[in-house]
Symmetry: C2
Subunit: 221 residues, 2 copies
DNA sequence: CTGCGTGAAATTATAGATAATTTTGCGACT
DNA sequence: AGTCGCAAAATTATCTATAATTTCACGCAG
């Protein structure tokens, strides 16, 4: 498994990140180091290090002496992340384009198809993430890619929050347009479409715990 | 002092970050937790947490069981950071522009003048950072601003590495052009200039420890 | 009934101790 | 001379213990 070789702190932070992103742990709820330590059968020292990693990813916020809680988010942050992704993914694509091969584009098309067939948020999100990663990775800019990864994690949080259980399949035209532009060597057109695609924010009525309905927002690309 | 209220880990990470950025600690050198702990009169637990923070900022890299070392960097990373800054600062400026007041622009002009008068890298860097922060902060996007801050820290590292001791004063025309465009309400022109400004990479021969001269590169904006 | 101490319980932050791994120095062997 | 291997030293990662702070419940006064 992937965890081998990782330090305990890394293992814990990955598991907690997954829970926060998927919404298993609610925004605002406290993360108590002793409880987490007990669950993972460790002491609290590696747990604290895991908290620092989550903090850096923007998934948790820590107030000195008062503990760590899951970061909450609002429409403003959804927009913010969408715009940052647009800026950075467009940059990455411009650098990646010259290094894209037919094989990579074929894999990206497969990922798009897998997304269209997905019957739940989780598998759609994974396919979507695969698509973006495939076409951006060849830019060979590690720092940029890691920043984009963190933003994807944030995006996925918003996504899961809006489409908690239900999910309607739909075909992703943007991905196809991007691939087609890339195949024709039209980098600028691909970049422009990607920029728009990532900034599109879906909107959908959702039942809250109190029974009311409110509009939920989520990045869709 | 600013450290009050901070946890020890934060204090240590700030101090180490400053040393790494200013070049007091060399790229590639090891950070040994017990040594640092002793210097700060603490145990190694907060030191480890400080290391995680440095890791997240890209100032240190940690290999499990093998310790932490100061991140090294090359021309590729200098370029990468410059391009990321260009993308994100332009985004921030577009959002900040509508909220800029005459008072803020006056302060930014002061910062520019202070930069022109600076007789060493350190004070120039501070003035420059102040300028950028002043015109970008009103965008009200905390995540974006914090990402830009981290990139500024990386930039400063490159800057200090190239101009370790000597420094020649020069007047910053770009800053003035940006301010003038903003005063006229011409956001797009200001953004375009900022984007170019930040990507400009200075180049300068420098003596290495072995006596040879090589070209050093550094972000200048 | 509401607001405000007060003290117990929970929790965080740090210190000190231990186990496991890596690095290093040195000597034997080729 | 070079290198291989082993043991000692250094270092990392984790655990256990302690001090300090915060939270929470409860009772009392206004």
């Amino acid at each position: 498994m992937a965890s081998t070789g990782d330090t305990i702190a890394v293992r814990i932070s990955k598991e907690l990140a997954d829970r926060i992103i998927s919404g298993v742990i609610e925004p605002g709820s406290r993360l108590r180091q002793d409880h987490v330590a007990e669950e993972f059968n460790t002491s609290h020292v590696p747990v604290r290090e895991a908290f620092r990693r989550l903090e850096a990813q923007g998934l948790a916020i820590s107030e000195p002496r008062r503990g760590v809680r899951v970061a909450s988010f609002d429409l403003g942050e959804v927009r913010e992340v969408a715009e940052m992704r647009a800026a950075l993914e467009v940059l990455a694509l411009r650098h990646a384009a010259p290094h894209l091969t037919a094989s990579i584009l074929d894999q990206a098309e497969e990922a798009t198809k897998a997304g269209d067939k997905s019957r739940n948020v989780r598998s759609w999100e994974e396919a979507n993430r695969t698509f973006h990663r495939l076409i951006l990775a060849p830019c060979n800019m590690p720092r940029l890619l890691s920043a984009i990864d963190d933003l994807h994690a944030a995006s996925a949080r918003f996504l899961f929050a809006a489409w908690r259980s239900e999910w309607e399949t739909r075909t992703d035209q943007d991905h196809r347009a991007i691939l087609s532009a890339l195949r024709q060597g039209n980098t600028e057109s691909a970049a422009a479409t990607l920029g728009r695609h990532v900034q599109w924010i879906g909107q959908k009525p959702v039942k809250t715990a109190s029974g009311k309905t409110r509009d939920a927002f989520a990045i869709v690309g």
